[in-house]
Assembly symmetry: C2
Homo-oligomer: 209 residues x 2
């Protein structure tokens, strides 16, 4: 049973409903992970029949993949907003790491971990993951190139270091999901490694944590 005094069940325009389904799926995924997405869980969040959700989505795998894609794209936009206006390249790098490792962010970490785990069996999700990773990678690359240009960091392989940055962040946030090590230790790990990758004086990033 839904709410006893159920609203008289409104009828919406297809694109409106489509958007509502997508939004609900995103909220659900952010709350309980990609594995929590089901026709019924989404439908019940919308107070709607499960058939309606199915009516708008070709398959659960597609819905899962597109939800992942959208959630991660929004996150990238939000992180940019927090990072891009920092004064120097080093500040931006610092803020990027701080933001990505923020414990408040573990809803996102869950989603990434789900993507890697479920991706093995869901090709569409795997594809979405690859493409999203490329977006993030090119953002980190952009930040690193700027920092190199201003002379605050030094590397001959910004692409590789950008990859390394996410390798460190991704594993570290996955560790957080099982409470391995403390936030402080995980932060230290990432920052010390980045210092070495970027020819920074020891502690210059770590001290900011």
């Amino acid at each position: 049973m839904t709410t006893s005094t159920g609203e008289p069940r409104r009828r919406r325009r297809p694109d409106e409903r489509r958007e509502e389904v997508a939004q609900t799926a995103r909220d659900l995924a952010l709350g309980d992970g990609l594995a929590a997405l089901s026709l019924r869980s989404i439908a019940s969040s919308m107070n709607v029949a499960s058939g309606l959700v199915a009516h708008y989505e070709p398959s659960m795998e597609e819905l899962t993949a597109s939800t992942f894609r959208h959630v991660v794209a929004v996150e990238l936009t939000e992180v940019r907003a927090l990072v891009d206006d920092a004064p120097t390249g080093l500040d931006r790098l610092d803020r990027l790491v701080t933001t990505l490792l923020d414990p408040e962010r573990d809803a996102l970490s869950t989603i990434w971990a789900d993507a890697w785990s479920l991706g093995r069996r869901m090709p569409l999700l795997a594809r979405a993951a690859r493409e999203s990773m490329d977006s993030w990678h090119s953002y980190a690359r952009e930040i690193l190139l700027a920092a190199v240009a201003e002379g605050s960091v030094r590397t001959t392989e910004p692409d590789l270091v950008a990859l390394e940055l996410f390798a460190l962040v991704d594993s570290t946030t996955a560790y957080a999901l099982v409470s391995y090590r403390t936030p402080k230790e995980r932060n230290q790990l990432v920052r010390r490694a980045l210092e070495q990758a970027l020819g920074l004086e020891s502690g210059i990033l770590a001290r900011r944590a």
Copy 2:
């Protein structure tokens, strides 16, 4: 229906059966991941009623956690066997990385990714993951300390570098599950990062890949 000419259903001693259940669960996990473990999937692999599996296991979460624990412990033993007899500390480090990144190993990668993903909802699995990670960490630490002692690598924080090693390996193997980057790129990434963490001449590890 099982095989039509079913064997006359043997009765085994409890510890024998217990071991058979555990072994079957391990094989299944190695084939299809931790998420593929269910009373019925295990029972059907054994040609046995699902109730039998339940009879020997307190709960699926416990079975999942203990299966994970065992699979990962065996893996550590196997890796040690491949690595420990290398002549120098640097050789052992090289072999460790090579082995951990071996594409043949992706059954194990799946299991680790499953553990981080499922661990958020399965406390016993999360605990098993933490403890297993500690075992692996202390093994890497051991290798690094020996390499430091022989003077082939240099670091003031072997614990941190051991953590970093797995951070790189774990993310990289998760990437492999969704086919992000090539084995070669993933290898490069880990090796270049380790070189910098260990004060090694550029390429000294990477060239071995």
